[in-house]
């Protein structure tokens, strides 16, 4: 059966027919976008007017996020900024430490079992003048149940005395730079870095594999996608053991599941040889709504955690250089064999030295294993300079820039981590445009909220949380930003042949908007209201999910 949707406006991202009013679909595929009279030619059809006052865009593509966002909403959100829950409740941000503690106390009061843990997430003390939270403040909420609050960065956690006790850390004599001690010689309850967080986090209700997601979390993630206009989302660092793949297949196989998921197999904890073999075995298990067979390599750490690898002149505050999370030889092995086998690789590089290592390695392995159109993608790639963008172009790589990060933590980078000049060049979308590098922009949800229209706004305005315009020359236009969150992201996943624009032959994936992004413009794109999505011709309204 053919359905022809009419809409107030359809932004197709197809330059041959940029704006139309009608789109015809059949069996989840677009027959055409254009005049109603043209589309009638496809044969017997029904007209669907429910979007007559809405604006359609191609379904938005989030090229770097984690399903974990869905799982985290089972815990108490204590972030500074207002954030929409999967159920559509706008949760007010905690603007002071007291508000944060009050919200946790309210959540504590709702728990039945006296020893059930109380996990919270997205605390960001930089908005509280970096006031240190102590275990005593959390003990006042409960001394009998373990409490743990993950910071927005994902790199620090605050816990109460009970949590320390359960992890065997409520003692003197601890000698670890990630465990600050109080005057009494006992830990203050702040835990810095994954080494010290992991022994405690399991006691406070976080999963052992922080990046994993269960069935319930996947459904919540799906609801967030509908609210953000997203129809295709990556799960960018998945381990993909058999049971996780089974859950992914089971959930995405449900007709009512509203998102196409693209999980990338994380390199960690497995040898390069086994990594390649695992991904080769996964690829044939793909379905329309589950796209397996890609690799994610984490090359370095984070800039705000001072674990990113920087070239000279290094960190602005003099911190020593960061850490490698893979040996250069292993990186080369994976890149070379993936190129030979046609497996796509995305690399996490935050620091510019890590980016340069990938560029140098790609140049070398491409001589051994020549490949065209590989579209290997540098994820984050936050600090790359212009010369590096030129190399990225020459080597056929793509970038996916962390535009949201620039908004939330740009001030910190300006003042502390990399200093003013490099902070201005971070997430250089303008340079990507000028140098002709294919690019996308991303949220890294749950690190920042899932919402490509907001991410596009960040990339166009480069306004930090304090209101500073950080890197005027790296701003991009509305057209460029809208392309980045549709075709741009689809291109980095080799999915632009079926996603990213509304044109004949592509998947019937739409973002259904109450407002017209072209009317909202550069200044107000982040305020665009989302009605819901269409995925493969199936309609998902935010009111239904």
């Amino acid at each position: 059966m053919i359905t022809i949707f009419s809409a107030r406006k359809i932004l197709t991202m197809n330059p041959r027919r940029p704006v139309v009013r009608h789109v015809a679909i059949r069996d989840g595929v677009i027959l055409g976008a254009g005049d109603l009279e043209e589309l009638r030619g496809w044969g017997q059809h029904r007209i669907d007017d429910r979007f007559a006052d809405k604006v359609l865009m191609p379904g938005l593509v989030e090229g770097h996020c984690h399903l974990q966002e869905g799982a985290l909403w089972s815990h108490t959100y204590v972030g500074f900024f207002d954030r929409m829950s999967p159920e559509g409740e706008m949760q007010a941000g905690c603007k002071t430490v007291d508000e944060m503690l009050a919200k946790l106390a309210a959540a504590e009061a709702r728990l039945d079992s006296p020893d059930a843990p109380l996990p919270g997430w997205s605390l960001d003390p930089i908005y509280f003048d970096n006031q240190k939270i102590t275990r005593h403040q959390l003990d006042a909420i409960s001394s009998t149940r373990p409490i743990g609050v993950m910071h927005a960065s994902g790199h620090i956690m605050n816990v109460n005395s009970k949590a320390l006790e359960l992890a065997g850390l409520m003692r003197t004599g601890i000698n670890h730079e990630g465990v600050p001690l109080g005057n009494d010689g006992l830990p203050t309850g702040e835990l810095r870095g994954p080494d010290v967080m992991s022994p405690v986090s399991i006691h406070v209700g976080f999963d052992r594999d922080m990046l994993s997601c269960d069935e319930h979390g996947m459904w919540r993630f799906g609801r967030l996608c509908v609210r953000a206009g997203v129809t295709t989302a990556t799960d960018l660092a998945a381990r993909l053991p058999e049971d996780a793949v089974e859950t992914l297949r089971h959930v995405t196989g449900n007709d009512r599941y509203p998102a196409r998921i693209v999980p990338l197999r994380f390199h960690h904890g497995v040898s390069p040889e086994d990594l390649i073999a695992h991904v080769e075995a996964l690829a044939p298990q793909s379905t329309d709504k589950l796209r397996l067979g890609r690799i994610k390599i984490v090359v370095d750490g984070s800039i705000q955690g001072f674990t990113a690898r920087l070239r000279a002149p290094g960190y602005y505050n003099g911190a020593p250089n960061g850490l490698w999370y893979i040996a250069p030889e292993q990186l080369a092995y994976i890149l070379e064999h993936a190129l030979r086998k046609g497996i796509q690789v995305h690399t996490h590089t935050n620091g510019d030295e890590a980016t340069q290592l990938v560029l140098d390695t790609m140049r070398r392995v491409l001589r051994k294993a020549p490949a065209r159109d590989h579209r290997f993608t540098l994820q984050h790639c936050q600090l790359a300079d212009t010369a590096q963008f030129r190399q990225i172009k020459e080597l056929g790589l793509c970038v996916n820039l962390f535009a949201n990060h620039h908004h939330y933590w740009g001030d910190q980078h300006y003042e502390l981590t990399v200093g003013p000049e490099r902070a201005e060049r971070m997430n250089a979308a303008g340079t990507a445009v000028r140098e002709g590098v294919p690019f996308a922009v991303h949220s890294d949800a749950p690190i920042t909220p899932l919402g490509p229209l907001f991410t596009a706004w960040c990339a166009m305005n480069r306004r930090t949380a304090s209101g500073r315009i950080l890197g005027e020359a790296e701003k991009i236009t509305l057209d460029q930003a809208l392309r980045a969150i549709t075709l741009g992201a689809a291109y980095t996943l080799h999915l632009d042949k079926e996603l990213g624009s509304i044109e004949t032959g592509k998947r019937a994936d739409f973002a259904v908007l109450e407002d017209d992004p072209e009317e909202m413009g550069v200044e107000r794109l982040n305020e665009t209201r989302v009605w819901g999505t269409v995925l493969g011709g199936k309609v998902f309204g935010t009111c239904d999910v």
Binding site: G173, I174, P194, S198, P199, L323
Partner: protein, 288 residues
């Protein structure tokens, strides 16, 4: 009374330095000790096939009651699993990944509590490739930080390296690990008993030939009065000049003798035999 904590030796060093060879060598020459091996990457299971008896899940059972277990990035969970093993192992070998910083792993293990203690950090370096690696801007600082954490450095492939490479490698080791004992090895010739049981004998402070060698002095503290062992250990560990301390003291809490072992910032306090004579030997840097 013996130290009840399970000793754990960290084996670090860059790719190709010979970590896997050493682990297999120690397994073959465990001298009756049951070893548990922790590896970062399960797929690259470094154990020679003939040593493997059975595999189940993340755990591989090895000849002589030894086991091998991968920890991925969840070391604490793996240590919990090791603790539950029955029969309990006598010694844990942790093979770090090639870019890991063993000093940081040692600090993390210190968080685990009193049941497992770091016995020593052994860093392997390939005498043939070490000088080249120290000129590679990407990995030079990683390798120098690895060496910096060593109690013992094993310079491998000493038979394959040219005299010039050997001399340059030794200079590098003395520069970056001036306080570590240095063993030259051709592969299968490391004395396993020394590593597993008497690593203290290999740690020989102060014998640096490097240009920046630090002079060390040894002091003996009489410990004639009872003290709070924890507070005493914290004071010593907070002093950056103090490199090692070992000896006995009387605990002010219960008037019982305890043994203190301190290496850098790590220390352990355990019960001492009743006959232990108070006194702590402290090795520290001399700035005079």
């Amino acid at each position: 009374m013996s130290d009840p904590a399970l000793p754990l030796t960290i084996i670090g060093g860059y790719l190709g330095a010979g970590k896997t060879t050493l682990v297999n060598h120690l397994l073959r020459n465990a001298q009756g000790q049951r070893l548990a091996v922790l590896v970062n990457e399960f797929g690259s299971l470094p154990i020679d096939a003939d040593l493997i008896e059975a595999q189940e899940g993340d755990l591989t059972v090895l000849a002589g009651g030894c086991v091998c277990c991968s920890y991925g990035d969840d070391l604490m969970f793996a240590l919990t699993q090791i603790q539950k093993l029955d029969p309990a192992p006598d010694h844990v070998l942790l093979e770090a990944s090639g870019v890991a910083l063993p000093g940081a792993i040692g600090s993390a293990i210190g968080l685990f509590g009193d049941d497992i203690r770091v016995h020593g950090i052994v860093i392997l370096a390939d005498a043939e490739t070490l000088p080249g690696h120290l000129n590679d801007t990407y990995i030079a600082d990683t390798i120098s930080r690895q060496l910096d954490s060593a109690d013992v450095v094993i310079l491998t492939k000493s038979d394959l390296a040219s005299p010039d490479q050997m001399r340059r490698s030794l200079d590098i080791v003395h520069e970056h690990a001036p306080l570590a004992g240095v063993v030259e090895s051709r592969g299968q010739d490391v004395n396993s008993e020394l590593i597993l049981s008497h690593i203290e004998a290999l740690k020989k402070p102060g014998q640096s030939r490097g240009a920046h060698s630090i002079r060390l002095v040894t002091n003996v503290l009489a410990m004639s009065e009872p003290v709070d062992p924890e507070a005493f250990a914290q004071t010593l560990s907070a002093d950056p000049d103090i490199l090692r301390a070992k000896g006995h003291m009387i605990s002010a809490q219960n008037q019982q003798p305890v043994t203190l072992q301190l290496v850098g910032r790590r220390y352990s306090i355990t019960g001492a035999p009743p006959t232990a004579k108070p006194g702590v030997v402290v090795i520290q840097k001399d700035h005079s």
